[in-house]
């Protein structure tokens, strides 16, 4: 199977999810557009494929943003079977592109980490780091929802005590 054919098969799996109802539950419209854009970029790199092609800075930025978006989804949303299938398909598209075009070792490591995350195969140390980040986000949420009335309550209770 040619590189382009392989891409088409996996890209279609990604697109099928993007056009589904469930996609609405995990992605904002901008993210959805971003994934479609990235698929177009990658397709343009295979059509025709030139060995040694160097992607532009903007193209790399767009692709990295999509990988980052998957990371956010994994952190925040319960992963159903369909979502898991979509993410693994997208990781396949991105890692194949990275192997053929960008050839960036850090990006490969990130994609491998995401794959392990979806498959629930994180190492203990990776799980600790992930939990730590989740806890930090939770602290942020709690702090953000800390209503000013709690602060004034302290003063009010002091006042009642005084009375």
């Amino acid at each position: 199977m040619s590189m382009k054919d392989d891409f088409t098969v996996w890209a279609n799996k990604v697109k099928r999810f993007l056009n589904s109802e469930e996609c609405l539950s995990i992605m904002k419209v901008d993210h959805k557009k971003g994934v479609f854009k990235v698929l177009d970029i990658i397709e343009s790199h295979y059509d025709p494929y030139h060995e040694g092609y160097i992607p532009s800075e903007q193209e790399v930025k767009d692709i990295k943003e999509v990988a980052h978006m998957i990371f956010s989804v994994l952190e925040e949303i319960p992963i159903s079977e369909d979502i898991s299938y979509f993410i693994l398909s997208l990781i396949h598209v991105l890692s194949t592109w990275n192997g053929n075009v960008w050839k960036d070792a850090d990006f490969l490591l990130k994609l491998q980490y995401l794959e392990r995350h979806v498959k629930n195969e994180l190492t203990i140390s990776e799980s600790i780091v992930t939990l730590d980040k989740s806890a930090e986000r939770l602290r942020g949420t709690v702090k953000g929802s800390n209503p000013p009335s709690l602060k004034i309550s302290e003063h009010y209770f002091n006042l009642l005590e005084g009375e």
């Binding site: 609405l24 992605m27 904002k28 419209v29 959805k32 949420t141 953000g144 929802s145 209503p147 000013p148 009335s149 709690l150 602060k151 004034i152 309550s153 003063h155 009010y156 006042l159 005084g162």
Partner: protein, 457 residues
């Protein structure tokens, strides 16, 4: 000690100043009895402007945190020129001050406002937002505000726009209209031809304003959808007319309007805007409540006193209460006087900055309303379900979840201080707003906002 000293971050940054005590008009939906004592109130305000009383109180209440000043009360241009020395000092005392707002009926020589803008200190650019009280064509505005007012308002606003365009000012000037409707207007707007006439009127009006804005010195905001008068006493029939009116607005969107923002319900826009924050309804409910007592306070005509907002300006004036009892004009206060709700307002929603305990109690009560929403939603849900079972609003609100959403929907229109006065508790909504929104209007808004939300995602 300023009010913000009680919090980790400044919560109160906006002030509504009691800037004028009597009015030059007597609008049909205005609840203030036009009695001679209003002139005395106005005189007291002028004294407070001139002797620096307002400035002193603002400093005590906000410290350096003040960002927004709104001129409220009756017609602010009756005293606005008096505020020029005030602002010369205010821009120095309040380094974060960035915005001035006022709502004028434009029935006074516009030179008052023009000279105010001309003489505003130019130390730094300020946003000056002027709201024009114009209700629509003569058959609405003249009915509500008095014979001949429509022509006068149009002429005065045109004169204002023209004069401002000849000025060199560093300030960022904005004008927008605020049309108000009562139940009779809603009945008229339920007829398609009347609703169309209304928007055609504003389309022509804005085209004339744009023609005069030759140097683009003013940003003219072009939305002109009518808003309901508050407090109002709305019944089921008005609710049904309100729904027909909304359907007319939706139909009128199909016309390609040249000078106005496409017709839409003002409440649809508020709802659709809030809908995107629903995930934070229980963690940041203040995003769904009015800014009164939340980020802003009303600075009264008596030294040191402030209330939740402009709604409190006349509440503790015995002459006002007497006039209400004699005329029966302010129905909410009238009921509040007999039930004790008005007394509760005086005790809980007004504080003296020089009395620390008083301030803490005021903040505690106001913050409790804005930071916790469950009680409000629970009582509203029960009321909506009961009304649905009684056949007074649509049967769909027998569903608990829809009843809760309707309660939240009415929140974009009602006033928690009116509720406190009327029922003695801010957590109970008046039937009036359920009857108005719950007879087809809110279902339409909800349906369209859900479709919009899905499409956007």
């Amino acid at each position: 000690m300023t009010v913000n000293k009680y919090f980790q971050n400044p919560q109160y940054t906006a002030a509504e100043l009691f800037s004028a005590g009597y009015c030059n008009l007597n609008c049909t939906y205005c609840y203030i009895p036009k009695r001679p004592f209003l002139k005395d109130v106005h005189q007291g305000i002028l004294t407070r402007i001139r002797n620096g009383g307002f400035l002193k109180d603002l400093k005590s209440i906000y410290g350096e945190d003040l960002e927004f000043i709104g001129h409220w009360g009756t017609e602010p241009t009756l005293s606005i020129k008096e505020f020029i020395p005030f602002y010369k000092e205010a821009v120095k005392v309040f380094p974060k001050l960035k915005s001035i707002l006022m709502s004028s009926n434009f029935m006074i020589d516009p030179e008052n406002l023009i000279s105010f803008i001309r003489e505003l200190p130019s130390d730094r650019p300020l946003k000056v937002d002027i709201q024009i009280s114009l209700d629509g064509p003569a058959w609405v505005t003249d009915k509500n505000r008095g014979l001949g007012t429509t022509v006068s308002i149009i002429e005065n606003t045109k004169q204002f726009i023209h004069a401002i365009n000849q000025l060199e000012t560093p300030h960022d000037l904005i004008v927008h209209v605020k049309p108000t409707m009562d139940e009779k207007d809603i009945s008229e707007f339920s007829k398609y031809s009347r609703m169309k006439e209304y928007y055609v009127f504003f389309d022509v009006y804005f085209s004339e304003l744009f023609n005069l804005n030759t140097n683009n010195k003013i940003s003219i905001l072009t939305h002109c959808d009518p808003t309901i008068s508050v407090p109002g006493n709305y019944d089921r029939d008005t609710g049904i007319n309100f729904k027909s009116m909304l359907e007319n607005q939706v139909k009128l969107k199909e016309i390609s309007w040249k000078h106005i923002t496409s017709p839409e319900s003002a409440y649809y826009n508020r709802w659709a805007h809030r809908a995107s924050y629903f995930g934070e309804l229980f963690t940041k409910p203040r995003m769904f409540t009015c800014s009164s007592g939340d980020t802003q306070l009303g600075i009264m005509d008596k030294s040191g006193l402030f209330g939740s907002c402009h709604r409190m300006f006349y509440v503790n004036n015995p002459e006002y209460e007497k006039a209400v009892l004699e005329t029966g004009l302010d129905k909410t206060t009238l009921r509040g006087v007999s039930t004790g709700g008005n007394q509760a307002l005086k005790e809980h929603m007004i504080a003296d900055i020089n009395n620390g305990n008083n301030v803490v109690k005021f903040l505690y009560i106001n913050r409790a309303f804005h930071d916790f929403i469950s009680q409000f939603l629970a009582s509203g849900t029960a009321i909506a379900m009961e009304l649905a079972h009684s056949g007074l609003i649509s049967p769909c609100y027998k569903d608990r979840h829809l009843a809760t959403l309707l309660t939240l929907g009415t929140k974009s229109a009602n006033c928690y201080l009116d509720e406190k006065c009327f029922h003695g508790s801010s957590y109970i909504s008046s039937f009036s707003y359920f009857l108005l929104f719950g007879n087809g209007y809110f279902e339409n808004i909800l349906r369209r906002s859900l479709i919009k939300n899905v499409n956007e995602r």
